[in-house]
Symmetry: C2
Subunit: 354 residues, 2 copies
């Protein structure tokens, strides 16, 4: 394997393979398993309270002494449109009644969202070596604080323009997220339609536009796709869907089962669950929101509105009313320990005995 640049030294890892931070899926156990294998485990704490974030970080630390990354959501907190939220809650109530989902109407005016800014200090305090982020660029103060203590920053770009901006802001590495990726789009420049660029051309073009290392994300799941990323000029890969059905994943049993039967064409982009574009397996909830034709509140308002409904569905192992984030290479994701999945990837690229 010839990578364009060596990022293993600066990340203190053995292999330039990053386990994608998947909020709601990734556990501290998954992160520590990958860290112990020599990859970069990523703990997602986007939107969580400082207290919960700290608990999760401590849980990883209790399981491994290897370094790992923590992932933030660096969006601005939006104003809430109470009218849009009201109309959406009518729909959620209707669905709840029809399908016994136990939705209780919420007082949206009292919603309070956590900013990544509340998490910066604790990350520094906990000596987290790598902070990755998505949905934006941290403000200059946060960047300066993190960099002053030697934290390495990895931003997410879905277009060449976003990648160039991240480099200009002093970010150390870029995750180039192709349209194939499961979960939320990291898009933060909203000056036109959602960028929908495939991993292959996106990585190739970002690698030519910036000097900092680029990590390829989206559709990567095996030896051939990892090697392709290296050929495109990437310095590493980020892999999410391959770990969706792992023993350490929070995915409900019916979701893990569904992954065994989908094909590469079964995921779509939707704003229905969170207010932000994300890729997942098409299901009844997406269709119901689309059919209703109502305006979907912005992220994270819609995300909060649908939280209890999704949680209730998950408790019932019901895949029709919770988000099934998955990428275009998620089919047949293996149901085994994350470490075994990781080692299999290493074997496929001939790196297992390094």
């Amino acid at each position: 394997m010839n990578w364009d640049q060596d990022i293993t030294a600066s990340l203190s890892i053995k292999y330039p393979i990053i386990q994608a931070p998947m909020l709601g899926i990734t556990t501290p156990e998954m992160v520590s398993a990958i860290a112990d294998e020599g990859g970069l485990g990523s703990l997602p704490v986007g939107g969580l309270s400082p207290e919960t974030s700290l608990q999760l970080i401590r849980k990883v630390k209790a399981k491994t002494t290897a370094p790992f990354a923590v992932n933030l959501f660096t969006h601005d907190i939006p104003a809430i449109d109470l009218n849009d939220a009201d109309i959406m809650q009518d729909l959620l109530e209707d669905l709840s009644e029809k399908y016994y989902l136990g939705y209780e109407r919420q007082d949206v005016a009292t919603f309070k969202f956590h900013s990544y800014k509340e998490q910066v200090e604790l990350l520094i305090g906990e000596k987290i070596p790598v902070v990755s982020f998505t949905f934006g660029i941290p403000d200059e103060t946060s960047i300066a604080q993190l960099k002053a203590t030697g934290v390495l920053l990895i931003g997410t770009a879905t277009s060449v323009k976003e990648a160039v901006l991240l480099e200009q802001q002093g970010i150390d590495m870029i995750t180039a997220q192709g349209i194939e990726a499961g979960g939320h789009r990291g898009t933060f420049l909203e000056d036109g339609p959602l960028p929908q660029v495939g991993t292959l051309p996106l990585v190739a073009q970002i690698c030519k536009a910036v000097k900092i290392p680029v990590i390829a994300a989206g559709g990567i799941y095996d030896g051939s796709t990892i090697k392709a990323a290296a050929a495109l000029g990437a310095a590493g890969v980020q892999i999410g869907s391959a770990f969706l059905a792992s023993d350490e994943s929070l995915a409900i049993p019916a979701f893990k089962q569904a992954l065994q039967h989908i094909s590469e064409t079964d995921t779509v982009l939707t704003r229905s669950f969170s207010g932000r574009w994300a890729r997942g397996i098409r299901n009844k909830f997406m269709e119901a929101v689309e059919e209703a034709g109502i305006r979907i509140p912005v992220y994270p308002v819609q995300n909060s509105l649908t939280t209890s409904l999704r949680a209730n569905a998950q408790k019932k192992d019901n895949i029709n009313f919770t988000n099934l984030w998955a990428g275009q290479s998620a089919a047949k994701a293996k149901q085994e320990p994350a470490a075994a999945i990781f080692r299999n990837l290493l074997m496929q690229i001939g790196a297992s005995d390094q």
Copy 2:
């Protein structure tokens, strides 16, 4: 360069690089230039009359003795919905009046479409060694006729399922067309939403599902993307957009110029021009059809309806009312001879002195 399988011998070419058949763009001169350089030139004759097809084939033959491929559209001829066509013509007349496009209302009931079946005999008569096709699978009789005379067949797939079907029908090679590709989607299984799978996961997954050679298409434009295709398991690549602005391209000057200023995010999928999904640079015509919110007649009805309007726009070098098919790696397509573009690709993969 290590390709998974060697297709150069069976295609009688030197390099497994195929110039994409781009109807309305590709000239006999482009085909012969690529053929002379040792690549596979592809002459598009989809939907053309046998007479025009023969003329174009003879033109290529007058310029080169090297083998080349001919590309067919293997769709069924649909019934015409006169009402939909009528409503669409109202819009075309409105646009024409507003923007001086000289549209003349057509008698749709007299439309006659050519089937690829009318072209099979002449391809055999002309001893065309390679026939590629898109929009479907030729009927069994046509496949048998072509194969009986030693013609090599290349089909187009946009999903694993389509690829498997092509292999089952005895097709010799598969072009795996990722969502990044410019121009028409080759999709022919219409049992759900349009497959929108990226080249990277699509090629990787098709290569694992079939035994016949796979040619990667969509987003490929330089050495790094060609090498990535090889890493994915492809036996060759098909490249279109890189030749869009070549001297031998029929693209109007304003289109060639526009290519110098777009980015990887500026193309979108549309049915507005032809009735079939295709990727091109967003322009006024697309937007006008979308805004009208009317039903778009199926392919090739809509294609015929918009032909004169597009031709008139092209005469005026007006990019607002003609299709600007282009892929996600079309930006800065070089304005030089196709042979120079081809040789540059060879240099980038270290193959120029083979």
